[in-house]
């Protein structure tokens, strides 16, 4: 009785082990491909302090003057690729991409900084409000 059970279940166990491996490798695949849902919309928003426009953020959002950026800001004080906003876990981080005029969070110049709901982000001469 035990013999039969053990013989059947060994195939089940191997199957489960490889199912586990499949999932682990799937995570790696997503990691390498950068398919950490970079293009997926999040619930966070970025809006001009003047209120003219509001953007919904992706998992990774690039901001700058160039057309390639997700959020295009037409201002001579904003660099072509100015800053990046990333979601890691549940938190949002802003990263300055060596811009000429710098990235400021609540008036402080930052390289990488965590941003919270209500923070004012200044890029060049443009003020943006971060709404989580």
């Amino acid at each position: 009785m035990y013999y039969i059970l053990s013989q059947i279940l060994k195939y089940v166990l191997i199957f489960l082990i490889y199912l586990f491996l499949y999932r682990v490798f799937k995570i790696i695949y997503m990691d390498i491909k950068g398919v950490r849902r970079e293009r997926q919309l999040t619930s966070a928003k970025l809006s001009f302090l003047t209120g003219e426009r509001t953007f919904t953020l992706f998992e990774v959002t690039s901001i700058g003057r160039s057309d390639e950026c997700d959020i295009v800001i037409e201002s001579p004080y904003v660099s072509a690729r100015h800053a990046l906003i990333k979601k890691r876990g549940k938190r949002f981080y802003i990263e300055d991409l060596n811009s000429t005029n710098g990235t400021f969070v609540n008036g402080k110049r930052v390289k990488v900084a965590r941003i919270k709901n209500g923070d004012i982000i200044t890029l060049g001469d443009v003020d943006l409000k971060f709404i989580a």
Partner: protein, 414 residues
């Protein structure tokens, strides 16, 4: 919930079902005498889920995969340990719990690892600690299983070399960060050969090989100079040949590797039993409880891989190796993304040591390289090894978390 997290928790569910099936079978096969065993066994999945939850909470940016992968490895170890040596199961579960605790402590300690680098006279402190730990067993040590690498405190056996590994890596990272010209590399080479020599005297050849090879790898990482690597391995070959003629126990190991059939009941008993076990397993294994892993000597620690190959088949064995590859990949990724050179060196050293250890023991039991007694991290029975393996991964997690979470605030530059 994004797909990334979802896949992770699905993988953890697979681990849970493997646990349920395997232990249901084993409890049928070998009725546990004490209720204690059952309680502790049931505590294991609870522990894993608590750790997973805490990890997601405390380190949302951390290497959550470490938890998933170690959960799988420790579980395979537990299944096999209960199969071959049921009296060790409870102890092993306690060690795993302590290990996870240390994992979190190490994560916090090494989140800001700068203090390791800034410590005054740091490299002297590290090297004296490491060498002290290694030498201590030469004087106060106890010989178990042929190697004199154990210390005993009131019946608790510890292997100081396991702790020395981590300290030595910190030393290497600190030393090689600044000193990488020929003269300093030669000094480092002398230190390393000294350490390998001490290990050889303690008859702990596995550790000698690990320390030496890790150093060669680290030197290559900082200098990108193939000459150092070539001369390093050349010296190792010379040392190996010398050791073959000088030490009896080295000669036995190498002869057993070249021709395991010469003295099956005597000198080559271990390796032959290990090969028989792997052969008996075939592709899908004999099924849990149907094999005879108890014929293999020291099966709960060094030879646990052969036992897994016997009862889970070579497919199970390959799965274990693949999981180690994934851990290695994550470790190298931590090293690549570290925020400064010291962190990168630290992470690279830790993961090299870890991977080399896995290579040494798996290669040994399948007769790919001469057999040396080191443990298979996370799977083998053994407190020191389990705890320090968790500590190593904790350090890697800390380095990774620190680099992600750092909020660098700059004052206005103009």
């Amino acid at each position: 919930m994004d797909e990334y997290v979802k896949t992770g928790s699905k993988a953890l569910k697979d681990v849970f079902w493997i646990f349920v099936i395997a232990f249901a079978l084993l409890f049928m096969h070998r009725r546990p005498e004490e209720a204690n065993t059952i309680y502790y066994t049931l505590a294991f999945p609870v522990l894993i889920f608590i750790v997973y939850y805490l990890h997601v909470r405390l380190f949302p940016l951390g290497e959550i995969q470490f938890v998933i992968l170690t959960a799988f490895l420790t579980e395979m170890g537990l299944i096999m340990i209960y199969r071959v040596a049921p009296e060790l199961l409870v102890k092993q579960i306690i060690w795993i719990a302590i290990g996870f605790g240390l994992y979190f402590i190490a994560s916090y300690l090494f989140k800001h690892y700068g203090w390791l680098y800034n410590l005054k006279y740091g490299e002297y402190i590290y090297i004296f600690l490491a060498v002290g730990l290694i030498i201590s067993t030469l004087f106060f040590g106890k010989e178990i299983g042929g190697a004199k690498n154990w210390l005993t405190f009131d019946g608790i056996y510890v292997q100081p070399a396991e702790a020395a590994k981590v300290i030595y890596i910190i030393f290497l990272a600190r030393y090689l960060k600044d000193k990488r010209d020929l003269k300093n590399i030669l000094i480092l080479g002398a230190i390393t050969i000294g350490i390998a020599g001490i290990f050889a005297l303690e008859k702990d050849l596995g550790m000698a090989f690990l320390f030496y090879t890790t150093t060669v790898l680290m030197v290559f990482l900082v200098t990108s100079n193939l000459f150092y690597v070539a001369s390093g391995f050349g010296l190792m070959a010379i040392g190996g040949i010398l050791a073959y003629f000088l030490f009896w126990h080295v000669r036995v190991r190498i002869e057993a590797w070249l021709n395991p059939w010469m003295d099956v009941p005597g000198k080559t008993y271990q390796i032959v039993q290990s090969l028989f076990a792997i052969a008996a397993g075939g592709f899908f294994g004999t099924g849990l409880g149907m094999g005879h892993p108890e014929y293999i000597p020291v099966v709960a620690s060094d030879f646990i891989f052969s036992a897994i190959c016997e009862e889970f088949g070579i497919l199970g064995g390959i799965a274990i190796i693949l999981v180690y590859f994934v851990i290695m990949y994550r470790g190298i990724k931590v090293a690549l993304e570290a925020r400064d050179e010291f962190g990168a060196l630290l992470a690279a050293g830790l993961i090299s040591m870890f991977s080399l250890q896995v290579f040494t023991i798996i290669g040994g039991v399948i007769k790919f390289i001469p057999l040396t007694g080191v443990t298979l991290p996370f799977v083998s029975y053994g407190g020191s090894s389990m705890v320090m393996s968790f500590f190593t991964l904790g350090m890697l997690n800390g380095i990774s978390v620190g680099e992600e979470e750092e909020d660098v605030q700059f004052e206005a530059q103009y």
